[in-house]
C-alpha cells in the first residue's frame, strides 16, 4: 500500500485502513494480540481523527491532549493508527517486531513519535495519566488526558487506586475509555473475576460514566464531547472485530494470522466495511 497523502479525517476510513495494517503486520511478524488490536482500533481511530487534540504537528504543544494506550499488547492498533496519521513512516509497520526495528510487540515510546508512555504491564497507564492530569490541573495547563484500558486490566488494584485519586482531585481533564470486549487472557472476564456491575463501580468511585457501543464512531465521539468530572466510557466492543473467525474467542488473543488467514480476513473486511 502506498502512503496516504494526508492524515485521515474520517474515523471509519482510518479504522479500516488500520485493520488491514494490523492483520498484515501481525501475520508478517507472527506476533500475538491481533484480536485485541481489532477490538480497540475504532476507539483509537476516533481519538486520532479530531476527538483528541493531538496530531503529528502538535506533539510539542504542552497543551495538546495526551493519549495513553495502557493495554500495551494492542500495540499493532496504535502503531497502525499513528503511521496512517503520519506520526512516523508507514514502512515501520512492515518491520514490526524485527531485530533492531523501531516498533516492538508492546507499546514503546522511545524513538516512536506519538507514543506518550511505554506500556505492556497492565495497570500502569491510569496512574501515569492521573499524574499528568493532576499536574496540568494544578499548573493550569489545558488539554485532556485519555487513557485507554482493557477490561481485564481492571483486575489490577492500581486501576481502583487511581479511580479514587482522580475523584478526590476532581480531574475533569481525565478520560478513561475501557475496551470492554469481555475476554481476558484465559477466558471471559465474568468467568475470571467478575467486573459487573461495572458501570456502577465507576459511578460509586465518583466518575461520570457512560456505556457506548464501542465500534460506533459517532456515538463514541459524542460520548467524549463533554465532562464535568473524571469521565469513564465503557466502550462495548467485540474482540477480533471485523474478522468473523477472530471474533469473541480467546484463541486469537495469542494466534497470529497465516498468509491464508490474511486472504480470508481481507475478504471479510471488504464485505463488512
Amino acid at each position: 500500500m502506498s502512503d496516504n497523502a494526508s492524515p485521515f479525517i474520517d474515523s471509519a476510513e482510518l479504522a479500516l485502513a488500520a485493520r488491514h495494517e494490523i492483520i498484515s503486520m501481525t501475520s508478517v511478524a507472527q506476533a500475538s494480540h491481533v484480536a485485541s488490536a481489532l477490538s480497540v482500533v475504532d476507539i483509537l481511530s476516533v481519538l486520532y481523527t479530531g476527538t483528541a487534540n493531538i496530531s503529528a504537528k502538535n506533539m510539542k504543544d504542552p497543551d495538546r491532549d495526551i493519549v495513553i494506550l495502557s493495554k500495551g499488547h494492542s500495540a499493532a492498533a496504535l502503531y497502525s493508527v499513528l503511521a496512517l496519521q503520519q506520526f512516523f513512516p508507514r514502512t515501520w509497520l512492515s518491520q514490526y517486531c524485527n531485530n533492531d526495528a523501531p516498533l516492538g510487540g508492546h507499546v514503546t515510546s522511545k524513538g516512536v513519535p506519538g507514543v506518550e508512555l511505554s506500556t505492556g504491564s497492565l495497570g500502569h497507564g491510569l496512574p501515569y495519566g492521573v499524574g499528568i492530569a493532576l499536574a496540568r490541573k494544578k499548573g493550569g495547563a489545558k488539554g485532556r488526558v485519555f487513557v485507554v484500558l482493557s477490561d481485564g486490566e481492571c483486575d489490577e488494584g492500581t486501576t481502583w487506586e487511581s479511580a479514587m485519586i482522580a475523584n478526590h482531585y476532581n480531574l475533569d481533564n481525565l478520560v478513561v475509555i475501557i475496551d470492554r470486549n469481555g475476554i481476558q487472557s484465559l477466558t471471559f472476564t465474568e468467568d475470571t473475576l467478575k467486573l459487573e456491575p461495572f458501570a456502577d463501580k465507576w459511578r460509586a468511585f465518583g466518575w461520570q460514566v457512560q456505556s457506548v457501543p464501542g465500534h460506533d464512531y459517532g456515538l463514541l465521539a459524542q460520548s467524549l464531547s463533554s465532562q464535568s468530572k473524571p469521565l469513564c466510557i465503557i466502550a462495548e466492543t467485540t474482540k477480533g472485530k471485523g474478522v468473523d473467525f477472530m471474533e469473541n474467542t480467546v484463541l486469537w488473543h495469542y494466534k497470529s494470522p497465516s498468509p491464508d488467514d490474511v486472504v480470508v480476513a481481507f475478504k471479510e473486511l471488504d464485505e463488512h466495511y
Binding site: 508512555l117 501515569y128 499524574g131 495547563a141 485519586i165
Partner: protein, 307 residues
Amino acid sequence: MRDTFVKVLLEEAKKDPSIILMTGDLGYGVLDTFEKELPGQFINSGVNEQAMMGMAAGYASTGKRVFVYSIANFPTLRCLEQIRNDVCLMDNPVVVVSVGAGYSYGSQGYTHHALEDIAVLRALANMQVIVPADPLETRELTLAIIASKEPTYLRLGKSKEPAIHTAALKISAGRINEVSGGDDGTLVFAGSVGTVAVAAAKELAAAGKRVAVASMPYVSTIDIDYLQKALAKGPIIVIEEHSYRGGVGSAVLEALNAVNLHGAIGLIAADQNNLSQIGDQSFLRHANGVSVENIVRRFIALAADQR
C-alpha cells in the same frame, strides 16, 4: 536525616516551583511545614504506593522534579515495577525517598526493616542509588540530587543520626568521602552505620592498626579510583546495614571485578538469621553481625593473610 532532607527540600522548593513533594500518607510531624508553606507543591496521595509511583512518574513527565516520600519498603519494593517501567524506562525525574534505612525502625518489626532495597534498586538500569551517612551528607546530597534530573533513590536513616563527618564536605557525584585517614587499610561504609565503622577504627587503632574510614554514598556509581588506592594500602572492609545479598559489598566487588582489580576485601552486612527478632536499631545491628567486634576480627584476619 529526614528533617535535614525536608528542610533543604523546602528551602529549594521555595525558589523552584518545579519541585514537588508527594507522600504516601506518611511523614506526620515531618512534612507539615512543607505542606503549610507550599501547599501547591505538596500532594498526599493516600495509602496507595503503586498508583502513587505511577502518578509521580506522570507528574514528572510534565517537567517537574517529583520527590516521593515514604518509609521502609513502601516506596521501593511495594511499587517496584512502577519504578522500573514508569520512572527508569521513561527516564522521568522522580526521586524515591525512603526513610528508615536498615534497622532504623528497630522494634517496629521486620515489615519495617529496609534490608533488600539497595540490592533491588541498584539492579535497575537508569537508577542512581544514594545513601547518605549523616545530616551533613544528607544536606549536600539533597542539593546534588535537585540539581540533577536522574531517576534517583535516596535512602535515609530516621532521626537524630550523629554527625560522622567532622569537616565541611565537598560532594562530587560518584565519589567516596573520607572521614579520617589511615595507612593500614580502609573501612568503607554506606549510611548511618558509619558510626559502627568509626568505633571499629578506634578499636583497631588501639590494636596498632591505623585504618581510614570512608563514606560511600553513591552505590550505583562506584569510586574505583579511591578503592584502587585503598587496596594498595591494605584490606578493605565494606560495612552496610543491609542484606549481604546484592548490597553495597556486592556493588564494590562487581565494580572491582569489572576492571580486573582484586585484593583483601571483607564484607560486613546483616545476616538476617532471625527475621522476627525484636529490638532497637543498635541491638538488631549487633544481633545480625553488623558489629564493631566483627569488623575488627575480620580486618585483623585479612591483614594477617596479607603478610
